[in-house]
Symmetry: D2
Subunit: 433 residues, 4 copies
């Protein structure tokens, strides 16, 4: 598979090596700047604590993404490369056993030093060396180019996590502070859901080799799909409230066994961040507490809630192969992080399958497993995806916190069934009649 030699996040693949490096360099500047742009309104206090083991401090994200380039690119590319600070090699290693010891994950929020200022120096140091490297394109082997491309996509993933992790942190503050000002409600009329039919047949699933993809999106392979139908848009708050008002959170027969146990343990009565008001609900957003807007896609659902809702609605979740088949020809447009809204928006118009990309990640009924014929890349990048193929569920399509250039039809996100702090929602599917 030619992925390795064509690997890059964007740009036309059939160009000279020099062009490709130049393109990587441009992309590097954009991606690195985007991380820092998100942090501009944050104080050092905001950037430091960790609200749960699954989440990380913003300061850690800024450092860890830098560590990636330092360790997996600069260390490999430059003989005798002087690290910014030797101890960072361990401190900001997330989970790469092939690189060595790692900082303690549940204690990321206890690391007050380096502080934000020093983390920015760290970033600048690595950026300088990366630019030097780009200036001498001959030193960038195909493997290094692949590592840089992964590093850029890696940093984009962490940009999304910065948004969701910081939202989670902020939600613990009883003052319910805001990251930014609220965006006004849209005026668009919302059409009722319609169903799009797909025939049975053998389908090619997985990345086709054009542009960047993670190893887990490959190999491209065949899957047989029975005929199915897919809803025209994700489930809205109004629709989800019907489920809640019908006692959805109190009927064990609607839930997976693990889901019902989790619901009871955690006392779930609504999606994450929802708080009851007198006759109503409000929700915590990055613009502080806001009323529930009926036409917005419901978000911050666990797999369990998505699955229970679908059962209640007489439908089911799509498989990831169904989703990918439907999305294969669709343009990648939508409400991404670039909109600055950082919250799902109502579907606009009613033409075809809406909001496949952006707004909310869509839970599929597919556990995250490796594709037939998968083999992990050699070296540390082999730890990127493969070892997590256990008890996680695939989500598709990106969200309002995903960079637009990061997503594609074959993209596989995955989280445990009980996770709710991502912008995760639900689109219904059903068997063809």
């Amino acid at each position: 598979m030619s992925l390795k030699t064509e690997a890059m996040p964007a740009g036309p693949p059939r160009t000279t090596a020099g062009d490709r490096i130049q393109s990587l360099a441009t992309e590097y500047d954009l991606v690195r700047a985007a991380s820092e742009s998100f942090c501009a309104p944050l104080s050092p206090e905001d950037a430091t604590p960790q609200s749960m083991t699954d989440a990380s401090p913003v300061k850690w994200h800024l450092a860890h993404t830098t560590w990636f380039f330092e360790t997996l690119v600069l260390e490999q590319a430059i003989t005798g490369y002087e690290p910014f600070q030797a101890e960072f090699r361990v401190l900001f290693n997330s989970y790469y056993h092939s690189i060595g010891e790692q900082g303690s994950r549940p204690q990321r929020g206890l690391i007050t030093r380096p502080g934000m200022a020093e983390v920015y120096e760290y970033r600048a140091h690595v950026d300088r060396h990366m630019r030097d490297l780009f200036d001498d394109a001959s030193r960038i082997t195909d493997d290094l180019a692949r590592a840089i491309a992964v590093g850029l996509n890696h940093e984009q993933q962490h940009q999304e996590l910065m948004v969701t992790d910081f939202k989670h942190l902020l939600s613990h503050n009883p003052l319910r502070p805001a990251y930014h000002d609220a965006t006004g409600d849209s005026e668009t009329k919302l059409e009722p859901v319609s169903w799009h039919a797909f025939d049975e047949g053998l389908r090619w699933i997985g990345h086709d080799g054009e542009g960047f993809a993670y190893d887990s999106e490959t190999p491209r392979h065949r899957e047989f799909l029975d005929a199915f139908e897919l809803a025209s848009r994700p489930v809205t708050n109004a629709e989800y409230l019907e489920f809640m008002n019908d006692g959805g959170y109190g009927q064990p027969l609607l839930w997976l066994s693990n889901g019902w146990a989790t619901l009871q343990e955690q006392g779930w009565k609504a999606p994450l961040y929802w708080e009851p008001r007198e006759d109503d609900w409000a929700t915590f957003t990055l613009a502080g507490m806001q009323p529930i807007r009926p036409r917005e896609p419901v978000t911050h659902l666990s797999y369990y809630e998505a699955d229970a809702y679908a059962r209640w609605a007489g439908a089911r979740l799509p498989t990831e192969a169904e989703w990918e088949t439907a999305a294969a020809g669709t343009a990648i447009e939508g409400n991404f992080v670039e909109s600055g809204r950082l919250h799902p928006a109502p579907a606009g118009g009613n033409t075809g399958l809406m909001q496949l990309f952006g707004d909310v990640w869509e839970w599929t009924r597919s556990p995250y497993v490796l594709y037939p014929g998968y083999s992990a890349p050699a070296g540390p990048l082999g730890e990127y995806n493969g070892k997590f193929a256990c008890d996680q569920w695939v989500l598709r399509g990106g969200s309002c916190a995903t960079p637009r250039s990061h997503i594609r039809a074959s993209y596989r996100n995955f989280f445990p069934a009980g996770s709710r702090w991502q912008f995760s929602g639900v689109r219904l599917a059903r068997d063809a009649k």
Copy 2:
């Protein structure tokens, strides 16, 4: 066992209704007797405690399987049926929300009353009423016949659990007591593993409608398989010891991320029940502590260990569809519970795929999900399988604790990835070259 040809979920019954009921009645007596036969050597003390939440007391198994017939058959069939004791309806309900409240699962071992004697009276009471029902075959609708057939298969599942749960309980006793006498080692020569090749293609997977099957084995549907190869027999203790001696339990790169975390939390250094001896290992069996016999299939592995072993061996686990395709034409023979050994035995001969059935359940790389087009049966039986389709992994082929008549090629067992107290082992697969 006539269950297969007569009590079936689908397909035309080729016998008269009366014959079918008679056959069910015979089967009923055999299955019920088998449960009690396992308990004959047990004291009331042995039958009472619960060693972990996942396991249940033998006394509970005896009562719960009886509850199944009382609640799902007799209550439905007989107007004004007088239950043996009204409170048992809750006390011995395992997880059926559609029936109502349930006894506390982690506290099953604290229920000393009813004692064994009273549980046997309960069994006798229900058996009497079941026999009366069989004698009046006209009252047995198709739905009731299905419920009875499920009840018999249910009791067989619990027979296997009685073996594994009781072994688990006994293993906590520092005296390492025995349930029965040890069976001698076999003299058979063990051939090296050979690989059996299968072509790519679209395959029908799931139960074909002939004889009994659980809902989760249906609907029969098509899956596309790439060409693959399957090992001629499960991995042996000798082979697994090579992995251990090569430091397999100390190399994080061999393990799934969750697996490595579990290994560290639990301090795993060997399969469950293995204890170090001076230069060697011994293992707890139902015949007490025994030396490790090199040619026996390794057992009491978690999914994590099976997967790590396969990675170390340069192979992988089969998918359940691969396994089923390979097993489809194979005769159901092997070391089942009826052998009385209650421990895996070495493979005999070297003809084709050996030990697909019996000896050890074989972990597959397939998470337990519901087949395309699945819909849960109406009523309580709808809770039997469907709601557990989350974060469990499929095992195939039955074990030395499975009743022979209980297993078939389409049979899907499932357990969480960290479970080790079942007789679970590993057969390797690999992609065709």
Copy 3:
């Protein structure tokens, strides 16, 4: 202090050595028989499980008390003594590091073998050897006589624990089964509480050397007491219900900080074993569920509840020195285990301080610490009491589950502040005006 040479559970101290041994022998038979007498109505199932780490199976109590005599008496007295079963030395060692390894405390309920029958054989074996030893009084040194006396008192303590642990176990059974038939309510009229005044002064506290006492009751020493008053009887259910009805369980200002945290964690709304009925409460007893009888002393209170009640009542708990001072001259009469009631009874008459002994253990405001000048005995008996002097609270006076011959004015029982499964109640005290 001469305790060591005069140590015996009962009988006049100034007798010949032979008389003393004979008296010990008689006592031995009585105490050993009493343990078995409690178990007569129990099934092997009843005797096996463990309902929480703090409690033990009845079967374990029967074996451990026997282990005490085997290990601390017979092993010492008889050269080449053959233990009943060598592994019991570890299995039934509770917490004696000086003897060696110990069976796992939280797993006592998983030891099904030895079963009850074998435990009785164990008891018979040890009893035979003990009788042989008594027959040859010359072999019983002062140290051995002390060990035997401790062994008998130890077994009496475990008799009380058998009652409370078994009650705790049985309470988990939703059938709420009974150990024995209920005793009828008493007809006695209950007088209002009166207060008994005591002057300030220097008091001698601790055992005076007459008869048996534990090391923790010594040395006798002086404590200065301010003038105080003591209530004539323990708090009754009726009085405690006033506290409950006044919102006692909802007012944090009434509670110790740890107590309020425990109440919230555990969801306490009433004493242990109380269950709400329509307009009322019932309580689980060894005679099954029973209505709350207003005149009975309230029991199954934690220290936290006793303390909160006292604060609500404008009083306080007595110190153990106050209690002992008041009890010093009082006859040891009351509702002990020998009454067979196994439940507190209303105070009778109104003469002086009632129910100081028997009915309910009375929480004192004294943490369990060692008396000034205390030094632990040499050998394993040094582990009996001293090492537990940390974060436990003293209770005084014995209960309806205490053998009458076991208690005395200087007797110090102790439990952690959150413990509720003993027959623990509360008697109020207050500073003299």
Copy 4:
């Protein structure tokens, strides 16, 4: 410090009210400035996270001590007082149920807003109003003066906690960063321990009414003490190392039962912050990792370790009454927070009882209980001490992190037996021969 002679709970004030208020005002400025002075070298990142539930962020300490004056002084003194921010009343309430809801204790580290700058504004706002109040002394009732005096002592307690909590936080950073530069080792020769004898007798214990004291130091009352001896100085690192080298952490017979359990659970092998070096130990200090200096008092011991050491040494811990009797006439001199060392220093000279004050808090064998005749103050201050009198142990004498003016002979500090993050050490006592 003038607090002692002026802001007192009892005893005749020997000055005019106006003088007393002026003195409180001066004290106010000094104490408030001291808190901020400790924070000068800290970054906002340093001030934000919480390393364990028992500890708090520095930022929280700064705000909570301010909340104390705002809520317990300004709100009471000034009709219509406008709080700096209304929500702070809940957010920075530590544990005062009489004031209302409280911020979640384990989540103090997740509150990033208010940030440090805003907390300083909060402090300035309250300080301005306090100064206005001091300027109008007639509004300061005796109750208010008492509340202000408590507030100042409260802030001093939090100054000590800022030191120990921040040290604890910093210790989690694998870079082992330093708060300040190390102080050089002292040259003083250390004399061997000598023993100071005290006669038996009835002693007055508790505060004598001269100067400020907490409610828990009263009422002054009589206790009878047997004759005892007290060591001339605390145990040193060199002495404690002998215990360690003698296998002290491996001998269960030296430990309280709870202590041994804790040691095993936590894997204790040395005092908190000690780390093994090749042939030696080092310890984390506020000046980073430092070698163990043999002559310094050992610190960061739990009660369990102090008690085990004393048992190993053939001695015992003093009671708090013994300690207070010995300290009653001693000048309050020593290594306090004002030295800037923030670490214990070796004893100097050998005259009498050394280091009773400062350097390390000395564990006593006295559980923290309320003195005879104690009654809690009315209002919120009644929650300050009384409700914590459960399962904590008294420490005496102050430490290198205690403000000099905060300590006195009757001062009772208390912590749970397993606590190690305070500067806690051990001075031996023994019964008189």
